[in-house]
Subunit: 215 residues, 2 copies
DNA sequence: AGCAAGAGACGAGACGGTCCGTCTTTGCCT
DNA sequence: AGGCAAAGACGGACCGTCTCGTCTCTTGCT
């Protein structure tokens, strides 16, 4: 009888792991989700397919780890990546800028996100990851835990700071507030329902803060 | 040399078309995007594969037409379907409720959308369509033209009515406003980042209308 | 009018191709 | 010896194209 052996992490090849994650991210950026295959990733990484299947349950899991690899800067440096996708957190806690001017800080962050969405090198892998997450609840849970969750905490932390400075009401539901600011970006990006520009980012921030009712 | 003949729409079988669209929608609901195949749709519809490939360029195009088929009520009746996905429009123009109370009307619509997202029979096909749209710009364009566009017009029309009643400022950017209200729903639904409840829908409407700054 | 020929959609499914996920082989490094 | 790694063989699922034989509708000749 065959043991469904848990692989021995101690013997794992770091070189192969790095090559796989890099290849996955780059391939996703070059060929897009539809043509992204495990065989392609293995070939580009110079790795046997089994090495991928030994350590990851699915293509989507590899892609998620590729994003984690980037954001956690596995042996690399922090380089300020930012996006609605939830980049930039190392478990320690990436923080949003806080100059005391909430509106300006939010515009800065949203503009950076818009810029990332405009770069096919990030846009395509992020779409691929989003797609995988959309129809794999298990992957979505891991995504929420490792990438989106920490990023959302950073966003909420910035809003909480504004609350404590009296710039936002104490009773504000921060989960709703975060969705209100970042949800519109996600919508425009995914559905390409309109131009995704700095002006749009600014308008979202202004309208979210003051509300539709505001003059 | 082989003529890439344009099929003769006059000879098209309406029975096959209907069977294909119905099978596509139902299969998407039953097996999900990952396991949705053209062969599966053909088999379920009792149709040759070529009949699908003759009339549609891709699986996603079939799925989009399946949604159009539902919403335009091909030979069927209007039954009040509603969703952020953009259901319910027949080119004539589906309208959002207008009781004069904008906040109540919006809550009603968002709650209905939340209910649809909670039903796997709509949730899964809608996810499948969303995924197809996410990595096929041509399909996204057709989606915008046929489903999302008309729905967005209905949303904007409702907001415009509120503007004319003096309930919303004249200078409000309606595209931004629509994204601000429906974007958060899309975000929660797609990423499953939190419970998608009536209470959430209400909170989004209230917060969007009054803004984060409001007490 | 009646009928044969043609065109084209249809259901069915064969076909070569790609990719899946598993399994086997062989080598390497503890 | 044990376990990971690279390479790739393997059966299976689908892809998208193509070829059948059948059918229905249109066309044109008688």
């Amino acid at each position: 009888m065959r043991r469904r052996t848990t692989p021995d992490a101690g013997r794992r090849s770091e070189a192969s792991r790095h090559a796989i994650l890099t290849a996955a991210f780059e391939l996703a950026g070059e060929v897009g989700y539809a043509k992204l295959s495990v065989e392609g990733i293995a070939a580009r990484a110079g790795v046997g397919k089994q090495t991928i299947y030994r350590w990851w349950p699915s293509k989507g899991a590899v892609l998620l780890d590729a994003f984690l690899h980037l954001s956690e800067g596995d042996g690399g440096e922090s380089d300020g990546g930012e996006s609605d996708g939830g980049e930039s957190d190392g478990g320690g806690g990436m923080a949003l800028p806080d100059t005391g001017d909430l509106e300006a800080d939010l515009k800065l962050v949203l503009r950076a996100t818009v810029d990332e969405f405009a770069d096919p090198r990030y846009d395509r892998p992020l779409r691929a990851l989003t797609i995988e997450i959309t129809n794999d609840p298990a992957l979505a849970a891991r995504y929420a835990e490792r990438l989106d969750g920490p990023m959302k905490e950073a966003k909420k932390a910035r809003l909480r700071a504004a609350q404590e400075a009296g710039q936002l009401p104490a009773g504000l539901d921060l989960d709703v507030a975060v969705d209100l600011i970042w949800g519109p970006l996600l919508s425009r990006w995914l559905r390409r329902s309109g131009p995704l520009t700095h002006a749009y980012a600014d308008a979202v921030v202004e309208t979210a803060l003051r509300g539709l009712y505001a003059r």
